[in-house]
């Protein structure tokens, strides 16, 4: 019950300063909101969604599921076997897209994957196949319980991590990380790219499979919780996470019976690739977010993903529908002589980390990342603080030391994004826009603003 008459209330004010000033003139402190109008043209949809009596409960349920779902690495298996992919089935990052609208890096990765699967002798030869539109399938990773960084291409002979929720047995999947520079996920498909992928399938993945099976499930959220306290945000910085994974698997790798040269080669590869853990952070995030799908009335975002052309989001309350807009160019630092004109628009499923309260949302835990845009440490702190404005809760496991161990901002609420006009902050790598180039830089990016009003309109339409 209201205690309005029992004690002088704390006054909170949104709107014209005049009334707050009139109260302050009476010697009472007023806490003010820096209110500004919502995104243009959204008033009616906002009011409709705000009037939905299911929303508060639905969002709390979504948040509860997201933060309480466990994620364990339980196996490493060939994608063909575990995802049922034939040699001419390909998965890609982001919302659905065909070859005709595919960006350079996605095309490059597909060409490389076609050669890897033996459909063509040379990657270039696959262009005709893909352009023909027949004789292959191309579907989003997200539609198969999987996620892929950058181009996100998964084909049958690639191996994937299998991540599971022990309570329900639900699973998600992600390929093994190839490292930086000229790699398939950035659209490179040269001979060294393909021979690395073959080595990963022939040596690295089977060795990891043996190790995981011998050791037993690896609790990925425990690693995520620790790495956030060690300077990683689990998207552009996974250094501590990668080393902690190695710590978990190394004894079993050594004891696997594989030749020591192979073990050494595998360990050298993983420990030299600071991003190796990204491909475990991503399926772990997807697993927890998928638990919130299909909650009627919930306005929480359960996926943000890009295919290099479109940026798409999905919400808990709108089923499998994607709300898309043009992918943006990241701002950041470039490798070597590359510049902004070489970069492809935003690409990859890795924004699933931000969706789950990591990546850009945990920026305050990883101040090193702000140097990608020439920022200062205070920018990193404020980036995370700003994200609390658009999320409904804080992650109880992922605590940011410098913010007094406040949990990372978790559960992006479409209504809050539209109201505040604050867009989710995403940390990302940049692919070259020409197929075959590979990585050109890394930086910060946001979704196109229009995807949130689109999602809001769909949510408003579903209010009874």
């Amino acid at each position: 019950m209201s205690r309005l008459l029992e004690q002088a209330p704390q006054v909170l004010a949104a709107g014209v300063d005049l009334f707050a000033e009139a109260i302050e003139a009476q010697g009472t402190t007023v806490q003010r909101v820096e209110w500004r109008p919502p995104m243009t043209g959204c008033e009616a949809d906002l009011a409709r969604v705000m009037s939905d009596r299911r929303r508060v409960g639905a969002n709390l349920e979504a948040l509860q599921r997201i933060v309480s779902t466990d994620a364990e690495l339980i196996d490493v298996l060939p994608a063909g076997e575990v995802l049922g992919l034939a040699g001419n089935d390909f998965l890609h990052a982001g919302p659905p897209i065909g070859w005709d609208r595919a960006s350079g890096p996605l095309r490059g990765a597909l060409l490389g994957a076609a050669a890897l699967e033996g459909l063509v002798a040379e990657p270039k030869d696959a262009e005709a196949l893909f352009a023909s539109g027949t004789g292959y399938t191309l579907e989003p990773c997200h539609h198969h319980g999987a996620v892929g960084p950058m181009a996100g291409v998964i084909s049958a002979s690639m191996w994937v991590f299998v991540v599971a929720d022990p309570a329900t047995g639900r699973r998600t999947y992600c390929t093994l990380n190839e490292g930086l520079g000229k790699v398939l996920r950035y659209g490179a498909y040269g001979p060294e790219v393909l021979s690395r992928l073959r080595w990963m399938s022939d040596v690295l993945a089977p060795l990891l499979q043996t190790a995981v099976r011998a050791r037993g499930p690896v609790d990925l959220r425990a690693i995520l919780a620790q790495m956030v306290q060690m300077g990683d945000e689990a998207h552009n910085r996974n250094r501590a996470g990668t080393l902690m994974l190695l710590r978990e698997l190394l004894p079993a790798m050594v004891e696997s019976g594989a030749p020591s040269s192979q073990v050494a080669e595998a360990v050298r590869f993983v420990s030299a690739n600071d991003h190796f853990f990204l491909n475990l952070a991503m399926p772990a995030c997807k697993l927890t977010l998928d638990s919130a799908r299909g909650i009627a009335g919930s306005t929480i975002v359960v996926a943000m993903a890009r295919n290099g052309t479109d940026f798409g989001i999905q919400t808990a309350g709108t089923g499998d529908e994607w709300f898309t807009g043009p992918a943006q160019l990241a701002e950041g630092l470039f490798l070597g002589s590359y510049g902004p004109e070489d970069a492809n628009p935003d690409i990859g499923d890795s924004a699933i980390t931000e969706t789950a309260g990591l990546g850009g949302f945990a920026m305050a835990a990883a101040p090193a990342i702000v140097r990608f845009v020439g920022g200062q440490v205070s920018d990193a702190l404020n980036a995370s603080r700003r994200m609390y404005e658009i999320t409904i809760g804080e992650h109880p496991m992922y605590a940011i030391p410098i913010l007094d161990f406040r949990g990372t901002p978790t559960g992006i609420d479409v209504t809050k994004v539209v109201r505040t006009q604050i867009l989710p902050q995403i940390n990302t790598g940049m692919a070259g826009k020409q197929a075959g180039v590979g990585q050109v830089g890394a930086g910060l990016v946001t979704p196109p603003a229009e995807v949130f009003p689109k999602a809001l309109a769909a949510l408003a339409h579903l209010v009874r």
Binding site: S2, L4, A8, V16, Q26, T28, V33, E389
Partner: protein
């Protein structure tokens, strides 16, 4: 020759009150003859066109800010433009967040997460008020919605959620409230005392509170519920909640409900509720055949066993009313306008208005008529896109000049509302007009003894300028009628 500059700024948002002040400052720059600094809403674009400016072609959203300046030289126009930019760039009251401090919260929900819940005061533009208010309720706040232009269905939705969560929604369009000794909205500094007020009418409540203050009687709280609360549709949801809260409050000895007459079913329900409470409830329902607010206040004082003072007045003995003319009332307070119309129409018959007592007494858009008329400048239709006349009385002043120039005006009736939130000196703008008036000007001055503008000073200045001033709005209306009676006798 005249030079015009129209310029668009993106990514800047300021509320309309701030921009009105800013327009005035820029307009006062040397050589500037007209200035408008405003958000590019449809309404403001109309204003821009009406001022003779061209609407810029490159506008693409109402969230852009317009600066339009007309000056007598190019240099003066540029200086005016520079002045506008300088004022827009001036630091706001809240300091910018440094490295160590968090960014300012953007929503009530976000503020509550760091500061805890409380009483949320919502004064954002009406089309956004529902969203902010719902957020506040969901964050376990009581809510006062000053904004108007909130739909009935939204009001019902908010009040239903409030009932489920055990919270109170004051408003929408709640002009005044006093809680914990703090005046909210248009409010007065009042003593603590035995009366708990529930008010569906802002200025009506202010009249009652100020009369109680003049009688030396204080209050526990004044809870506004919004003008539509006692309608059939809203069904007294907030009034019932407020009455119950006051009944639970041990310091409240008398509950006074100030409202227009409620819908029949709701009136019955309230009386039934009143019969079940520990605390006596008195209704001050302003309507035909009901006592006026002053009489209702006197009844309340009697019920508390307190004496009724003679209500302060400052009566001018000068000008007679113009024989054969009509009464013209120009009000900032809606309930004050209603009360004056009820009193006047009982004697004069038809009183035309933008908020008429009967639909066949409706004023057309010119807001003028040959016969008796009274205008409520605080009505929704006249406040869309501009501040309430209690904050910025310039629109009323314009119409006052027109009424003074009108040879058919017999007597002018005005209100002046003092207190927190109101204009810092509302009398000043009236004085030159009162001084030059050919007909009597009668003013009800609604203020409490400790209001920042000084009740006594405000009334005395009006009196010295030749007006009659009353602390009772009903007494002011009756005085105006007496002047007309005398002139026409």
């Amino acid at each position: 020759m005249s030079v015009e500059r129209v310029s668009v700024r993106r990514g800047l948002y300021q509320d309309s009150v701030t921009l009105m002040q800013l327009s005035r400052d820029v307009g006062a720059s040397t050589g500037v003859t007209a200035a408008l600094v405003a958000m590019a809403t449809d309404l403001n674009l109309d204003v821009l066109t009406a001022m003779g400016f061209q609407v810029p072609a490159d506008l693409d959203s109402a969230n852009e800010l317009l600066i339009a300046i007309r000056a007598d030289s190019a240099a003066a126009a540029d200086l005016g433009l520079a002045r506008a930019d300088e004022l827009l760039a001036a630091p706001r009251r809240t300091p910018a967040a440094g490295a160590g401090s968090a960014p300012q919260p953007r929503t009530i929900g976000s503020l509550v997460r760091t500061s805890g819940s409380g009483l949320a005061l919502i004064s954002v533009p009406g089309q956004h008020a529902f969203t902010e208010a719902m957020d506040a309720l969901e964050s376990d706040c009581d809510v006062l919605i000053f904004s108007d232009n909130v739909s009935v269905q939204q009001e019902i939705d908010l009040k239903e959620v409030a009932a489920e969560r055990g919270r109170l929604v004051m408003g929408p369009d709640c002009g005044t409230a006093v809680v914990g000794g703090i005046g909210l909205g248009f409010a007065h500094t009042l003593d603590a005392g035995p009366v708990g007020l529930v008010a569906a009418s802002g200025t009506g409540a202010q009249q009652v509170l100020c009369l109680l203050d003049a009688a030396g009687v204080g209050i526990t709280a004044a809870l506004g519920v919004g003008g539509r609360d006692l309608s059939e549709a809203v069904a007294g949801r907030s009034s019932i909640a407020a009455i119950r809260m006051l009944d639970d409050d041990p310091a409240t000895e008398l509950i006074l409900v100030v409202s227009k007459p409620p819908a029949d079913a709701i009136g019955r329900q309230l009386r039934e509720l009143a019969g079940q409470l520990r605390t006596p409830v008195q209704f001050a329902l302003l309507g035909p055949g009901e006592p006026d607010l002053t009489a209702a206040t006197e009844q309340a004082l009697a019920r508390l066993g307190r004496g009724v003072p003679s209500w302060p007045s400052w009566i001018a003995d000068g000008r007679p009313a113009r024989a054969g003319g009509a009464l013209r009332g120009l009000f900032c307070g809606g309930t004050l306008c209603d009360e004056a119309m009820l009193i006047a129409s009982a004697e004069l018959g038809a009183v035309y208005s933008n908020t008429p007592l009967r639909s066949d007494w409706t004023l057309d858009e010119s807001l003028r008529a040959d016969g008796h008329y009274m205008i409520d400048f605080g009505d929704d239709a006249l406040t869309r896109g501009r501040p309430h006349p209690m904050i910025d009385p310039s629109l009323r002043t314009r119409y006052l000049q027109a009424a003074l120039d009108d040879a058919r005006s017999a007597v002018i009736l005005l209100d002046v509302v003092l207190g927190h939130g109101a204009h810092s000196d509302p009398v000043a703008e009236l004085l030159p007009l009162v001084e030059n008036s050919a007909v009597p000007v009668v003013v009800s001055v609604i203020g409490a003894r400790r209001d920042p503008q000084s009740l006594n000073e405000s009334a005395s200045r009006l009196h010295r300028a030749g007006a009659s001033a009353f602390t009772s709005n009903a007494a002011a209306a009756r005085h105006a009628l007496a002047l007309i009676r005398k002139a026409d006798a």
